[in-house]
C-alpha cells in the first residue's frame, strides 16, 4: 500500500508506518538494514527501483532523501510504500526549502532500530562522504565514480577522503573481472612481466583493476584506452607469451593462453540492483578497496606513457 503524507513530521511518518504494518499483518519485521538514498526527483525512480530489487536479498527500510525547491518554505512530504515491491518498506522523503540542508534531522528518527545503516549517493557524491551529515550516520557509504564527469579525479578525491566503510560502485563493477582474473591465476602460470587494462576512456573500474593488479602482482600495469563497451581486455606479458582475457562485445569473454585452446565464458555487465545487492552483502570495511584506492592515488595503473 502507498500512503501519502504532505507537510508532515517524522512522528506522523512513524505512526503511519506502524499502522500500515499492522494492517498488512506485520511484514518487514525482518529488516536487515536501513538504506538511505540521497538523490533528486529526476534520478530517484531508478535508484529506488534498484534498491527494492536488491531488497529481495536484503529486506531493508529504504529512505530516499529527495531535495526540492531550495528557495521554497521548509516542508516535508512523505510517500510510504509497504508491501508493494517486495519485502521491506520504502519511504520517499521530499524536503523543500532550507529543510533540505538538514536532511539528517529527518532521517535520524526514521532509522530502523538495531540494524546497520548504509548511505548511497547514486549521482553526485559529497567530496568527503564520511563527513557528510548523511554519511556520518552510516556504517557504509556507497558512491559512484562512474556517475561523475571526471571519474578518475573523483576516485583520487575519494582516496584522499577515505574512511573505513567507504566504497564505490565502480569497484563493485570490477568484481566479475577480478573474480575471473583470480580464477585464471588459480592454475599454474608463467612468470608475469607486465600487464595492461583496456577500456573506454574514463572508465573508473578499469583504473581500479589496473591499480589492484599492479599492487597485488608487483608488476607494472598500464591503463590503455579502447572503444569499449566498458572494459574490453586485461592482458599480461609473460615469459611464455601473452595471456589475455578479452571481452570485445560486453557479453562474452575469451581467455587466451599460450599453448592452450581459447576458453570462453560469459561475462556480462551487471544491473545497478545487482551491484547494490553485492554492496549490501557485507558491511564491514573493504580493506582491499582501501589499499587499491591508495595504490591508485600513488600512481599505480596510470595511463600509458
Amino acid at each position: 500500500m502507498t500512503i501519502d503524507l504532505t507537510d508532515t513530521t517524522t512522528g506522523a511518518i512513524h505512526e503511519a508506518l506502524t499502522q500500515a504494518r499492522r494492517r498488512m499483518g506485520g511484514p518487514a519485521s525482518g529488516t536487515v538494514l536501513t538504506l538511505i538514498i540521497v538523490t533528486d526527483e529526476a534520478a530517484q525512480y531508478d535508484a529506488v527501483r534498484a534498491a527494492s530489487q536488491a531488497g529481495r536479498e536484503h529486506p531493508s527500510r529504504v529512505l530516499a532523501v529527495i531535495t526540492r525547491k531550495p528557495k521554497a518554505e521548509s516542508r516535508l512530504d512523505a510517500e510510504i510504500r509497504v508491501g508493494e515491491t517486495g519485502p521491506g518498506e520504502t519511504i520517499l522523503l521530499r524536503m523543500y526549502g532550507p529543510l533540505g540542508q538538514h536532511a539528517d534531522s529527518v532521517v535520524a528518527p526514521l532509522l530502523a532500530p538495531d540494524v546497520p545503516v548504509v548511505t548511497w549517493w547514486p549521482d553526485e557524491a559529497p567530496p568527503s562522504p564520511s563527513e557528510d551529515p548523511l554519511g556520518t550516520v552510516a556504517q557504509r557509504r556507497v558512491t559512484d565514480a562512474a556517475a561523475s564527469e571526471t571519474p578518475r579525479d573523483m576516485l583520487l578525491d575519494l582516496a584522499k577522503a577515505y574512511r573505513p566503510g567507504d566504497t564505490d560502485l565502480s569497484w563493485t563493477r570490477s568484481t566479475p573481472w577480478r573474480s575471473l582474473l583470480a580464477a585464471t591465476l588459480d592454475q599454474p602460470y608463467p612468470e608475469l612481466l607486465s600487464g595492461e587494462v583496456l577500456a573506454e576512456p574514463g572508465n573508473p573500474s578499469a583504473d581500479l583493476i589496473a591499480a589492484w593488479l599492479g599492487l597485488r602482482l608487483g608488476i607494472g600495469v598500464q591503463r590503455g584506452e579502447s572503444g569499449g563497451p566498458g572494459i574490453t581486455e586485461v592482458s599480461f606479458e609473460t615469459v611464455d607469451g601473452k595471456v589475455a582475457l578479452s571481452r570485445p562485445d560486453g557479453r562474452n569473454a575469451a581467455l587466451s593462453w599460450p599453448g592452450h585452446p581459447e576458453r570462453r565464458v560469459a561475462l556480462h555487465r551487471r544491473e545497478t540492483a545487482e551491484l547494490i545487492a553485492e554492496e549490501l552483502r557485507r558491511l564491514e570495511p573493504d580493506e582491499v578497496y582501501a589499499e587499491t584506492l591508495r595504490a591508485l592515488a600513488a600512481g599505480a595503473g596510470g595511463p600509458a606513457q
Binding site: 525482518g30 529488516t31 568484481t175 573474480s179 575471473l180 583470480a182 588459480d186 612468470e191 565464458v265
Partner: protein
C-alpha cells in the same frame, strides 16, 4: 618455471567468490527427473553467477539416440523451465558450446570408449585440463557396471594429471551390508576423498544455518543441553504420496528413505559438540562422534512406530491408499510413516529424548527441528494464571518458510495476570529465499572445487545403518505397518509412543 602462488586471492577480499577450475562434468542418468529439474538448472545458475570456469563442459550419457544438439535442446528446456536465476542468452550460448552427448548403454564398451575420446577432445578443444567429475544420477544397482566401465575405459585414471571425482546420490545402500558393498565398488576405482555423497539436505542454507545459530552465537549454546532441553522433535512430513516412485519405494520405506540420511544428519548437527574448525574433517569427526553415541530404545516395539497411509482425503482431494497405488503389491509391508525415539549417550544429552518422524500423505509438507525446553522449575504465578502456558520451544524450520521460531510465555494485556504462549519469529528469508542458491547449486560447486565439508563420508553412512538396521530387522520379523487415513497425522501408535513418555508431537 610456472608459478602456483596466486597473489590475487586474499582472504580479506570477500567479493571474489570461489570459482571452479577448468573441468568437465559428465552426467549419467540425464533423462531422469532430478537431472532435468535440479541438476541442469543448477549448472546454468552457476554459470550465470560466474562461478564456472572458462571452457567448462557438460557431457550427458544415456541410452538415447541423440546428437549433441538434441541434448543441448533438452538442457535448454530444463534451464528455461527450472533455473532460479534469470535467463541470459549470452550465458546459455557459452554453456551450450561445451555441451556434448554420448549415446550408449552402461554395458556398451564402445560407448564408454567414445565417452573417453569425447572428454579428451574437450581437453584439447576447450582446455578443460583433464579434470573430470562423474555425476551418477542413476539407480544404485547400476553403479558397479558404470564404475567398472569408467575404470576399463581409463576414464577414472588420473595418472596423467588432472583430478577425477565421482558424485553419488542416496540411497547409499539399504542396510549396512549393502552400503559396504556399494562402497567397495567405488573404493577400488576412486580414492575415498574423490567420492562425493550428495545429501541435498546438507546443501540447504537453513541446515548450514544450524551451525551458525549454535556456534556463532552466545545466547543459545548455554541452554543447548539436558539442563534446559526436555526433548527434541525432528519431523519431515510430506503431503504427497509415493507418486511414480513405487518401484523404488516398495521395500525401502520411510525410515530407509529419509530417516537414515536426512533426519539423522539433522540430529547430528543439532546434537554434536562444537567442531574445532569449520572444515570437512573436524565437522565429520564431531558428526561421527555423536552418531556413534546414539542409543536405540530399549524396547523397539514401544519405542518405534510405523504406518501405511490408507485411502482418505488429503488437502481437499480424495486420494488412494498406499496398497492401492500402482506398482505396490496389495500385501506390501513397506511403511510410509516411521517414528523413533532415540537417545544420545553423552553428558550433554543424557536423558533427553530425540523423537524422529517421517511420513507421506500427512496434512502438510514441513520439515523442522524443535527443541522443547523444560517447564520453569517454579512459577510465582497462580496455577490459573499460567494455564495456557506451554513449554518454551525453539523451532528451526527447514522447509518450507525457512526460519526460526522461539515460543515463550507473555502476559496477555489486561488487568489480570495471565500468561499465554506467543511466538517470536525469524523468517530466514523474509525473502532471502528468492535469491538464495538452491542446495544443488552449492553442492555441485563444492564438487567442482573439491570442497568436501557438506558431504557425508562412508563412516557416517555406516553409522546411520547401524542405528537403523536393528529397527528394520525387528520390524521385518514382528510388525506390520498400522494403517492411517491419508491426510491425518500418522498412526495411533506414534501418538502412544509420545504419550508413554508424557509428551506429545507438535502439531503438523
Amino acid at each position: 618455471m610456472l608459478q602456483s602462488r596466486n597473489p590475487l586471492r586474499d582472504p580479506r577480499d570477500r567479493r571474489i567468490p570461489r570459482v571452479a577450475g577448468p573441468c568437465v562434468l559428465v552426467m549419467f542418468g540425464v533423462t531422469g527427473d532430478l537431472a532435468r529439474k535440479k541438476l541442469m538448472p543448477a549448472v546454468y545458475d552457476l554459470a550465470n553467477r560466474g562461478l564456472l570456469p572458462p571452457g567448462f563442459s557438460f557431457v550427458g550419457f544415456a541410452r538415447r539416440d541423440w546428437a549433441d544438439e538434441d541434448f543441448a535442446q533438452i538442457t535448454f528446456q530444463a534451464v528455461k523451465e527450472y533455473a532460479r536465476t534469470p535467463f541470459r542468452d549470452a550465458v546459455w550460448q557459452q554453456l551450450s558450446e561445451g555441451v556434448r552427448f554420448v549415446s550408449g548403454s552402461f554395458s556398451d564398451d564402445a560407448a564408454f570408449d567414445q565417452l573417453a575420446a569425447c572428454v579428451r577432445l574437450l581437453d584439447e578443444e576447450r582446455g578443460t585440463s583433464g579434470n573430470y567429475a562423474f555425476y551418477l544420477s542413476i539407480p544404485p544397482g547400476q553403479f558397479p557396471m558404470v564404475v567398472q566401465q569408467l575404470k576399463r575405459s581409463g576414464l577414472s585414471d588420473s595418472a596423467g594429471g588432472g583430478w577425477r571425482r565421482v558424485v553419488i546420490e542416496k540411497p547409499f545402500g539399504h542396510d549396512l551390508a549393502s552400503a559396504r558393498e556399494l562402497n567397495a565398488t567405488l573404493d577400488g576405482v576412486f580414492p575415498p576423498h574423490a567420492v562425493f555423497r550428495i545429501d541435498h539436505y546438507l546443501g540447504k542454507e537453513t541446515v548450514q544455518n544450524i551451525l551458525a545459530l549454535r556456534f556463532a552465537n552466545e545466547m543459545f549454546e548455554p541452554i543447548w543441553n539436558r539442563g534446559y532441553v526436555d526433548h527434541v522433535q525432528i519431523t519431515m512430513a510430506e503431503d504427497i504420496g509415493i507418486g511414480g516412485r513405487a518401484g523404488y519405494y516398495d521395500g525401502i520405506g520411510a525410515a530407509r528413505d529419509v530417516i537414515q540420511n536426512h533426519l539423522l544428519q539433522l540430529l547430528a548437527l543439532v546434537a554434536m559438540e562444537e567442531p574445532v574448525a569449520f572444515d570437512a574433517d573436524s565437522l565429520r569427526m564431531e558428526k561421527e562422534k555423536v552418531l556413534s553415541a546414539v542409543r536405540l530404545p530399549a524396547d523397539i516395539a514401544t519405542g518405534t512406530s510405523r504406518g501405511q497411509y490408507s485411502a482418505g482425503w488429503q488437502g481437499g482431494r480424495q486420494v488412494r491408499g498406499f496398497l492401492e497405488e500402482d506398482g505396490i503389491p496389495a500385501d506390501s509391508r513397506t511403511e510410509t510413516y516411521a517414528a523413533l525415539r532415540l537417545g544420545v549417550d553423552t553428558r550433554r544429552w543424557a536423558g533427553v529424548g530425540f523423537y524422529l518422524r517421517a511420513g507421506k500423505r500427512l496434512p502438510r509438507r514441513m520439515t523442522e527441528i524443535a527443541l522443547i525446553f523444560h517447564r520453569a522449575p517454579h512459577l510465582p504465578f497462580s496455577a490459573t494464571d499460567t494455564e495456557e502456558l506451554g513449554q518454551n520451544a525453539l523451532v528451526i524450520r527447514i522447509q518450507p518458510d525457512e526460519g526460526i521460531t522461539v515460543r515463550f510465555g507473555s502476559k496477555v494485556p489486561g488487568t489480570a495476570m495471565e500468561v499465554r504462549d506467543v511466538n517470536m519469529d525469524f523468517a530466514y528469508g523474509e525473502s532471502f529465499t528468492e535469491s538464495s542458491p538452491e542446495a544443488y547449486e552449492r553442492l555441485l560447486l563444492d564438487v567442482l572445487i573439491g570442497d568436501p565439508p557438506l558431504f557425508p563420508r562412508q563412516a557416517e553412512v555406516e553409522l546411520g545403518w547401524r542405528i537403523l538396521d536393528p529397527i528394520e530387522e525387528f520390524w521385518a520379523s514382528y510388525t506390520k505397518p498400522e494403517q492411517y487415513p491419508a491426510g491425518t497425522t500418522g498412526p495411533p501408535s506414534a501418538d502412544a509412543l509420545m504419550a508413554r513418555d508424557g509428551r506429545a508431537w507438535r502439531r503438523l
